[in-house]
Amino acid sequence: MILEVKKINNQFVIKNPPLSSEDTFFLQIEKKNIFKHRPARKMKTKTEKIPEELKALALKFPADEFLQNKVKYYVAYSKPEEKTDSEVYRDYLMEKYG
């Protein structure tokens, strides 16, 4: 089960303590495992504007499927705002292996 811990009045409070447990128990939290919570930023609007360099490259190498499909299905991203690549992957590992 996942325990939800919240900081209230400078104290960490478990919001959903397990009902079957003793009244008091201790949690040991390793500092290196504490991640800063970052507020979710709004995703930038995706743009269909293909960089000229990429278009020129695809034109120069018409047999290169990677380039052709890259142009055909082009979607420009800003950096993922909510989580870094590593965080996304860490979540996946946590989900898979606990």
Partner: protein, 544 residues
């Protein structure tokens, strides 16, 4: 300078996700890699991470799964995957601090690559981790004029993945000699050459030694018999003869082809002559109807030293010439050769027997020494195979005082991989040779005499070496070296002037000596770039 870079996860994702606003140089980096034909290397340890993050990001933007799968498949086809080695060093600081990055560095080290990343920690901890900007600048400033004579690592790098697989399979098989891989290669080589038998042996010299030794065992030759051999050859051709206590009879070369002058052979034939050893020097066929007639007339064996000309094709002069016929040779060369077609034959199938070398620098080169004997003679094949295996056909029963000269499984597996691409590589060599011949214009230099007009005869040369002549050879070599162009001399001392053959030191072979004094081999290989070919040409043309 070899430009090899592994793209870290973040750079791969910048590319896959078009994160131009975060990495404004990502498309520029891709453009540079495309234009310079550089490979995008990715460690096998990265793949699952990149794929997962890419998929999640796409999902978040509601991009259809089939598009995501298509783009991922394109990416996998585009990149070159580098293995993640098992030989980790747990004491390494990067191993302890960031295992993911550590595995990437291990992969990079296997191919001598640097790493492109914008992970600050990685950049700080690993000296060969560079930013996108640094790599762009490094590649742009790296166009040196250094041209290596034969970048072997680069040639074999092309076959890296197949070789890694072969190595793993051979290692795991526990069978390292006289196994299935040698048999497979021998069959494929025999089919390629167009002969009944190919026998893998330890090296090219042994291939020739074994043929002669087998003829002695078969009673066709005996000690003191003479073998005609070109005076202008690598010493191995002659060593094979004298090692069998046969007498090498040296004959002058044609000054234009550097190959044995067939018109001079007959005057050297005596009662003791038993064979003619022709050497297809530099990759050019040395054969003619006259030679065949001569051998028939005097009942001589013809042994081919095919160390340098694997893949070269001899076309009967009466064979109809046309562009179509050139094509048919090419097609035929790409597939297995039909031994019944007598108008066109590959070197190695022309004489009674042939010796091949797969020395690493050869057009078909192993990762060490190895060679082969080819023949259509069943008895010769059987005796050669036995002699090469301690003189034994059945284990622990020795019929001959044999040698130990066997091709091993690992080299056979490597050679089998490369054999499939030999015709393509030889064609590339022809194209380079043609460029040199058409563009090198310098009054001090004599270019190889060769007709590049489209015809089947084009296939009579596989350009193992591109040899020019000049009266100021050493000066030219020094000049080229100062300009960053590596050249070699094939060969600086003729066999008859070697200490090994002291008795011959006073003999005179003017053409041979002139060739040895004047020849210089220019860089030629399947991996030399257009830029390098042009650089060599321009610099040679500037020599005065």
């Amino acid at each position: 300078m070899v430009n090899r870079y592994i793209w870290d996860n973040n750079i791969c994702l910048d590319l896959l996700l078009n994160r131009v606003s975060d990495n404004p140089e990502i498309i520029r980096l891709l453009t540079l890699f495309e234009n310079k034909k550089l490979s995008i290397f990715v460690s096998s340890s990265q793949l699952h991470i990149v794929q997962y993050v890419f998929t999640v990001r796409h999902k978040a933007l509601s991009i259809p799964t089939n598009i995501t799968s298509l783009l991922w498949a394109d990416f996998i086809n585009k990149v070159e995957i580098v293995k993640t080695p098992a030989y980790i060093l747990p004491d390494s600081s990067l191993f302890q601090s960031d295992l993911e990055d550590y595995l990437i560095t291990l992969s990079a080290e296997t191919i001598g690559a640097k790493i492109i990343t914008h992970d600050k920690g990685f950049l700080k901890k690993y000296a060969d981790a560079l930013t996108t900007s640094q790599v762009i600048s490094e590649i742009n400033s790296g166009s040196e004029n250094k041209v290596l004579f034969l970048p072997l690592e680069k040639i074999n790098f092309t076959y890296r993945i197949g070789m890694e697989q072969a190595m793993d399979q051979v290692l795991a098989s526990g069978w390292y000699l006289l196994g299935e891989r040698v048999k497979r290669f021998e069959t494929n080589l025999a089919n390629y050459i167009g002969v009944k038998h190919a026998i893998g042996v330890a090296n090219g010299l042994d291939a020739l030694r074994l043929i002669l030794k087998a003829y002695i065992e078969m009673g066709i030759m005996q000690e003191g018999d003479e073998v005609i051999v070109p005076a202008n050859t690598y010493i191995a051709s002659i060593l094979a003869i004298s090692d069998n206590r046969l007498k090498p009879v040296l004959v002058e070369p044609d000054i234009n082809t550097y190959n044995l002058d067939i018109s001079l052979i007959e005057q050297h034939i005596t009662q003791r002559t038993r064979a003619i050893m022709v050497v297809h020097l530099c990759g050019q066929v040395c054969w003619s109807e006259e030679l065949e007639a001569l051998a028939k007339k005097h009942k001589l064996k013809i042994i081919e030293d095919n160390a340098q000309a694997i893949g070269a094709v001899y076309t009967h002069p009466n064979f109809e010439r046309s562009d179509d016929s050139a094509k048919s040779v090419s097609d035929e060369a790409a597939s297995s050769t039909n031994p019944n077609i007598t108008s066109k034959k590959k070197t190695g199938s022309l004489g009674d027997a042939a010796g091949f070398s797969f020395y690493p620098g050869k057009n078909l080169g192993a990762l060490g020494d190895s060679g082969a004997v080819t023949t259509n003679d069943d008895q010769l094949a059987e005796v050669v195979r036995a002699i090469a295996n301690y003189g034994s056909k059945v284990k622990y029963q020795n019929e001959y005082q044999g040698l130990n000269s066997r091709l091993d499984e690992i080299q056979a597996a490597f050679l089998d991989i490369k054999l499939k691409y030999l015709d393509t590589e030889n064609q590339r060599r022809r194209d380079i040779a043609q460029y040199y011949c058409e563009h090198i214009k310098n009054k001090w230099i004599t270019l190889p005499t060769f007709n590049f007009q489209p015809s089947t005869f084009n296939f009579s040369h596989v350009w193992h070496l591109f040899v020019i002549r000049t009266p100021h050879r050493d000066k030219l070599q020094k000049y080229l070296s100062e300009k960053g162009i590596q050249t070699l001399i094939h060969y600086p001392i003729p066999p008859h002037k070697q200490m090994a053959y002291k008795d011959w030191n006073d003999l005179s072979f003017p053409n041979t000596e002139k060739i040895h004094e004047e020849v210089l081999s220019l860089p030629i290989s399947s991996v030399i770039s257009e830029y390098e070919i042009k650089t060599v040409t321009t610099i040679i043309n500037g020599y005065c």
